[in-house]
């Protein structure tokens, strides 16, 4: 896995959502109040209050029957207009995909990754355009053909129209997705080469926290902070950091809540790792680099080294450590042989297990990141993770549907399609980049891995205008700009743009959670509820509410006749 899964930050994201949503709502309210007062004079105040009251009233008086009627209408429309044909496309794609995928003779785990990520990607990218088009064209077409007239002249609230449309499109999307996912699941099972079938599982890892000790054995840096990084061996991407062999350097994982229940049926502790090896000299090429687990109980001070193991780079290995094992320790010919009980002797009273990892070969290095060592508990069947990944795709489709429907209430079909498409594409591809410009901590943390683990700051060189000025005048970003009104104007405009970018960045959905959920299954892991499913769910909810309100507001204040 090439990413660290941190729990979904419920409280901070909720706060952020509240800030963005609240301030946006406030702005809209103030602007519309001003507009009403400006056009109607003092009478506008009453009109505004009335409208606001009526809108709130609509929220209270939602009729499920009407919403479902509209949802069913939406579904029937799509169904009778053959929107479900996309399923056929998918089936055809799967029929021929085998040609391209089987040609690859990668190792079994990789084959699983290839097949699973192919299916999941096909699922999301095939249903997405369908949902997007449907959602973006539904209401505008309804208005254009004036069918909407027959609905709004019934007691159907415009809020219910927005809700019904969203529900209907969501249902179509989910139906298509479910059908495709079922076929896709069977396809993976059937098409995957026999030798890779065994790898079609969902690991359930217990991950620990990772800290380091340097070659002198210090676990703190000069500033007295806990060492969270090892050595950089020159990788461009510094997700993994390394410890030097045959020194006191250690990677230290601490696992919480370790008890007899995490052992397997035979009473073994399954430690699985994905360590990397880096050789500073070739050494004996045939021989892998050795590492060692050392179990450490900080309460008793007991250190129990376990047998030497070889690194299986890029493949990973699972070590079964029996509950009772003999540990040989000591140096200089004096060996000390002791038998330990893993749970009794090495786990602290509050259930913490500390595993130190040492590289044995001098001059060689062992690389790791937090997810690279975990306790593997009972595996779940592949379908368990697959279904969760599909649920996350479904949630992504919902987000796109909500955005599409919402946008389509105030612009015409083609514009809505384009706008929604741009939102999706930009969210997928450029959001991180925008984050680094505005200085978002998450985006900076991601960028940090590409910058030699330097703490990232907002980029030097200022905004657009300043950058253009600096490029044209060949001015170094560290040089101060000449003081003067021109600089002030330039900086003001740039700040305005960055603030606008901040808003855009905040409004764009974070698709990371959706894409990552797929990576778990593809890598042979179960999709964790937190952060993946929870994150996706929260994002979906976070878009649902504003999208409904925006859609309703836009549909309510517009004249349906106006072309």
């Amino acid at each position: 896995m090439n990413f660290d899964s941190v729990p979904f930050p419920l409280d901070t994201s909720f706060q952020l959502w509240l800030t963005v949503f609240g301030s946006a709502t406030l702005i809209v309210l103030i602007v519309s109040l001003l507009a009403t007062v400006a056009s109607l004079g003092s009478r506008g105040l009453g009109v505004f209050a009335n409208e606001l009251g009526a809108m709130l009233g609509d929220f209270v008086s939602i009729s499920p029957r009407r919403v479902f009627a509209l949802a069913q209408l939406t579904f029937r429309e799509a169904y009778r207009r053959k929107a479900l044909m996309v399923f056929v496309v998918f089936a055809i794609l799967l029929m021929f995909a085998g040609w391209f995928l089987t040609s690859s003779n990668l190792q079994p785990e990789f084959q699983v990754k290839v097949y699973v990520s192919f299916v999941l990607r096909a699922l999301s990218w095939l249903v997405l355009p369908v949902v997007l088009l449907l959602a973006c064209w539904g209401i505008p077409e309804d208005i254009r053909l004036r069918s909407m007239h027959t609905v709004v002249t019934k007691p159907a609230r415009r809020l219910e129209i927005v809700l019904g449309r969203m529900l209907g499109f969501s249902f179509i999307g989910l139906l298509v997705l479910t059908a495709m996912a079922t076929v896709g699941g069977f396809w993976i099972r059937r098409q995957l080469p026999a030798e890779a079938q065994a790898q079609l599982i969902c690991r359930q890892p217990i991950s620990g926290e990772l800290s380091f000790r340097d070659r002198e054995g210090n676990d703190k840096d000069e500033q007295g902070e806990a060492l969270k990084q090892g050595i950089n061996v020159g990788d461009i991407w510094l997700f993994h950091s390394f410890i030097e062999g045959a020194t006191k350097a250690r990677a230290v994982w601490t696992f919480d809540d370790v008890g007899p229940d995490v052992l397997d049926a035979e009473g073994n502790l399954l430690l699985e790792n994905r360590f990397q090896a880096f050789r500073s000299h070739k050494g004996d090429m045939k021989r892998s680099i050795y590492f060692q687990y050392i179990f450490f109980n900080p309460e008793t001070g007991v250190r129990a080294p376990y047998d030497l193991k070889t690194v299986e780079e890029n493949r990973g290995r699972t070590d079964r450590i029996p509950r009772k094992f003999a540990s040989v320790s000591g140096t200089g010919g004096i060996t000390d042989r002791k038998t330990y009980d893993l749970i009794e002797d090495l786990v602290t009273k509050n259930g913490q297990l500390t595993v130190e990892v040492a590289c044995v070969d001098p001059g060689q290095y062992l690389g790791m990141a937090r997810p690279d060592l975990f306790i593997r508990t009972t595996d779940l069947p592949f379908e368990s993770g697959y279904i969760k990944a599909v649920v996350c795709i479904a949630l992504m489709l919902l987000v796109v549907t909500f955005i599409g429907v919402s946008v389509s209430t105030f612009v015409k079909g083609p514009v809505a399609t384009f706008l929604t498409f741009v939102i999706v594409i930009v969210s997928y591809s450029a959001r991180d980049f925008m984050g680094t410009i505005i200085g978002d901590p998450d985006a900076l943390a991601k960028a940090k891995q590409y910058s030699g683990m330097q703490e990232m700051k907002k980029l030097d060189g200022g905004g657009v205008l300043e950058s253009i000025y600096r490029i044209l005048t060949h001015m170094n970003p560290t040089t101060e700009l000449p003081a003067g009104p021109a600089t002030a104007v330039m900086k003001t405009i740039d700040t305005g743009m960055v603030n606008f970018l901040w808003l855009v960045y905040r409004i764009l959905p974070n698709f990371d959670y959706f894409t990552k959920s797929q990576l778990y299954v593809a890598n042979g892991f179960d999709v964790p509820f937190n952060p993946s499913v929870l994150g996706c769910l929260m994002i979906t909810l976070a878009y649902f509410i504003p999208c409904v309100i925006l859609g309703y507001f836009a549909l309510r204040v517009r004249e349906l006749e106006a072309k």
Binding site: N2, S104, Q107, Q276, I289, E313, N314
Partner: protein, 474 residues
């Protein structure tokens, strides 16, 4: 325009359409297959071999993808290429493999794309893996990938040359060469049951011989007009012969163990059987290496040496030359005395540039039975020394020394070739060590004494290397 009636306007439109049609027809009319038919673009396409189906196999899925991308395939390929780079940085090998396939589906006739990505797998990705079999796997992936590129670009000499590079130097000359060469014929993947990967080495041959074939194909393609811009043509054309020479040389280095292990297979041998097999393998290799060198000599002097190159000897001065030229040919081609002198200098310069004379002498000498005997006696001496069979070791070493002495007498210019000298000195070194073990003092004179004395500076390094090799054998 507003003053025109609608009818008049329509006529104007019609006129404009007709006017535009003329260049379109002139340029764009498709060819009906016969030469010089169709519009000028079609003719130009024929002339420059730009037709897609002329280039190699068509990939319908790629064509469909191009259509779907509405002409943005260049952009899409770039994005994917950046993704490959990121996936490489993030060590996401499975995804890298898929992305690479997507790129070439978009750009199937862009040789550089094949070359870069194949190279990426065979060199960069391969080296990221710690286990040698894994490294070999990615070398294979890169090689196979480039071969698919050749299928899509049938005329390319450029891609064929790069395929040859992977088969030749990548497998035979990298740090892992000892393992790679073995894996080439006994793949570590259990699916191939200790045989070669049929997709990579269908005929169970030596990697250098496969490389030689690819280089030869590259030469043929080049001769058919496929330009290459990798290197000077005179060097480019030397690769098939060079591969043959590399093959012969590598047999000395790894040949015995590889052949012996192949012969043994899963069997366990008694000491006598093992001894008999060793002798048999040595005898076989003696002939094999000699023949390989003889063929190499032939390739080098009769084929490569006879190729006619037109080289820009001095700025603006282009001369026609061969690397192997008799005096008569020099006279004929040079014509004027000045021309002959120029040609002579050009030949000399290019011979130096390509190390032509060294390889010619080396191949000539190595293709003699005596030289082969000298090498394999030296090899046997080393083996026997390691087994502490001092009597046999001494015998083999002395034989080897005598033979090397004879060869050097015949080819005195080899005294300046380090590779050859090293072999010769090694025989003396082993001989000294054996004598040391047996407690006898070396006699005052012995074969190769003058060389031994002259090149004393090289001895410590040779000794170190010998010790290291011996250790790794045990």
């Amino acid at each position: 325009m507003n003053n025109l009636t609608s009818q008049q306007r329509k006529f104007v439109y019609l006129g404009a359409i007709l006017l535009l049609l003329i260049p379109i027809i002139a340029l764009g009319m498709p060819s009906d297959g016969t030469p010089n038919s169709g519009g000028s673009i079609a003719r130009l396409r024929q002339k420059l071999d730009l037709g897609e189906s002329d280039l190699g196999d068509l990939d319908p899925s790629g064509a469909a993808m191009n259509l779907a991308l509405l002409g943005l395939r260049g952009v899409a390929a770039n994005i994917l290429w950046m993704k490959v780079d990121e996936q490489r940085n993030q060590k996401d090998w499975a995804e890298l493999r898929i992305t690479t396939d997507s790129i070439i589906r978009l750009q199937p006739h862009f040789e550089k794309v094949w070359e870069y990505n194949g190279w990426n797998m065979a060199y960069n990705v391969s080296s990221e893996w710690d286990a040698v079999p894994d490294r070999y796997f990615w070398v294979k992936e890169g090689g196979k990938f480039m071969q698919r590129g050749v299928e899509r670009n049938r005329r390319s000499s450029y891609l064929r040359w790069y395929v040859g590079r992977i088969y030749g130097p990548k497998i035979g000359l990298s740090d892992e060469a000892r393992y790679f060469r073995r894996y080439f014929r006994q793949d570590p993947d259990p699916r191939f049951k200790n045989g070669p990967d049929p997709e990579f080495n269908a005929n169970d041959e030596d990697n250098y011989l496969v490389a030689k074939r690819w280089f030869q194909e590259a030469n043929d393609a080049e001769a058919n007009g496929a330009r290459q811009n990798i290197m000077d043509r005179s060097i480019f054309r030397s690769y098939p012969a060079r591969s043959q020479l590399d093959y012969a040389a590598v047999l000395y280095k790894y040949g015995f163990n590889e052949e012996y292990d192949r012969e043994v297979g899963d069997r366990t041998l008694t000491n006598d059987e093992a001894k008999a097999l060793e002798v048999r393998v040595r005898e076989k290799l003696k002939e094999d290496t000699r023949a390989a060198w003889a063929l190499g000599l032939d390739d080098w002097t009769r084929r490569y040496g006879q190729e006619l190159f037109s080289v820009e000897y001095l700025p603006g001065v282009i001369v026609q030359m061969r690397l192997e030229m008799s005096e008569d040919e020099l006279q004929n081609l040079g014509k004027t005395p000045e021309g002959i002198a120029q040609l002579r200098r050009a030949v000399d310069q290019y011979q130096k540039m390509n190390n032509y004379r060294y390889w010619r002498t080396r191949a000539l000498c190595e293709s003699e039975t005596n030289t082969a005997e000298a090498h394999w006696s030296l090899f046997a001496a080393g083996e026997e020394y390691l087994k502490q069979n001092t009597a046999e070791a001494q015998e083999f070493a002395e034989k080897s020394m005598e033979l090397f002495e004879k060869t050097l007498e015949k080819y005195p210019e080899l005294r300046d070739e380090d590779n050859f000298v090293e072999e010769a000195l090694k025989s003396v070194l082993i001989w000294n060590k054996v004598l040391n073990l047996r407690g006898t003092k070396p006699p005052e004179t012995f074969p190769l004494k003058s060389l031994w004395d002259a090149k004393q500076a090289m001895v410590p390094e040779i000794e170190r290397r010998f010790e290291r090799d011996s250790r790794s054998k045990n």
